[in-house]
Amino acid sequence: MTVAVVRFGGSNCDRDAVRALERLGVDADIAWHEDGLPADTQGVVLPGGFSYGDYLRAGAMAAHSPIMDEVRDLAENGVPVLGVCNGAQISCETSMTPGAFTTNASARFQCEHVHLRVENADTPWTAAFDEGDVVQIPIAHGEGRFEIADEAYETLEREDRILFRYCDEDGNVTDDANPNGSRGNVAGILGESEHVAVMMPHPERASLPELGLTDGQGVLTAFA
């Protein structure tokens, strides 16, 4: 499978994503957004970073880049798409995924290790885990607080589309374990199809054994 990691001006986790995927044996390459997606694209990563300097809102500008029409078309045809951090913000701005990731309750940029509880292990992104598993995948964001209208949130829960919630090391989903004030401690969700996922924590930063954490491999394995 060839995975296109979309680079916008200001993306900065694109090379990390390629490296993490290659380590899993997945063929991956960077696609500059103005060049469009390669014809053989069989997976897409929208990587972290600060596309367009986070002008207006994080992800708002990149969401209207023409390449996002291609990404949406592929997603509708069952091609796996993963948005990480800024990629998650972009995806929500395009409405590929519901809700919005906005300013942390702390009003600060937070770069830290967090624990996540796997809420649904029956998806390509979480098949490597069991429901209830506690995994460690770090965050690095200033705008990661998940906000969503009541009705849309109920839909997410009813359809089992919440992938991860922030929790403590024992798997308890508490306010203290919520780093950014996200509704329901939500850290990652599915789009309308299980092929589309977004998450604020960075799986590509928890994939290389020499750096310590490897739980991110479980997420990226969806592309293998």
Partner: protein, 84 residues
């Protein structure tokens, strides 16, 4: 066609947490100001040629719908004036 300036004000929906406004309020209070509450908003002033004020308002509203506001967290309003 007439020259108009459409002013789009984008603010957080009632009930959506505004950490930046809270931080700003705290900073003002540290400076000794006495205030009950503080809300922040983004304001965009858009110059355009339009057939009439309604046309200008419609176009500015579409800009807000498509880009300037995020309907999940924002409300907006549009005010139109002829440009002097």
């Amino acid at each position: 066609m007439t020259a108009y300036t459409a002013t789009v004000t984008v603010r957080l929906k009632h009930g959506v947490l505004d950490p930046e406004a809270e931080t700003t309020q705290q900073a003002l209070e540290r400076l000794g100001f006495d205030l009950e509450d503080l809300r922040s908003a983004d304001r965009f002033e858009i110059d355009m040629e339009a057939a009439d004020a309604d046309d200008a308002a419609d176009r500015a509203g579409e800009m807000a719908d498509r880009l300037l506001a995020n309907p999940t967290i924002h409300d907006y309003d549009v005010a139109v004036e002829e440009t002097e």
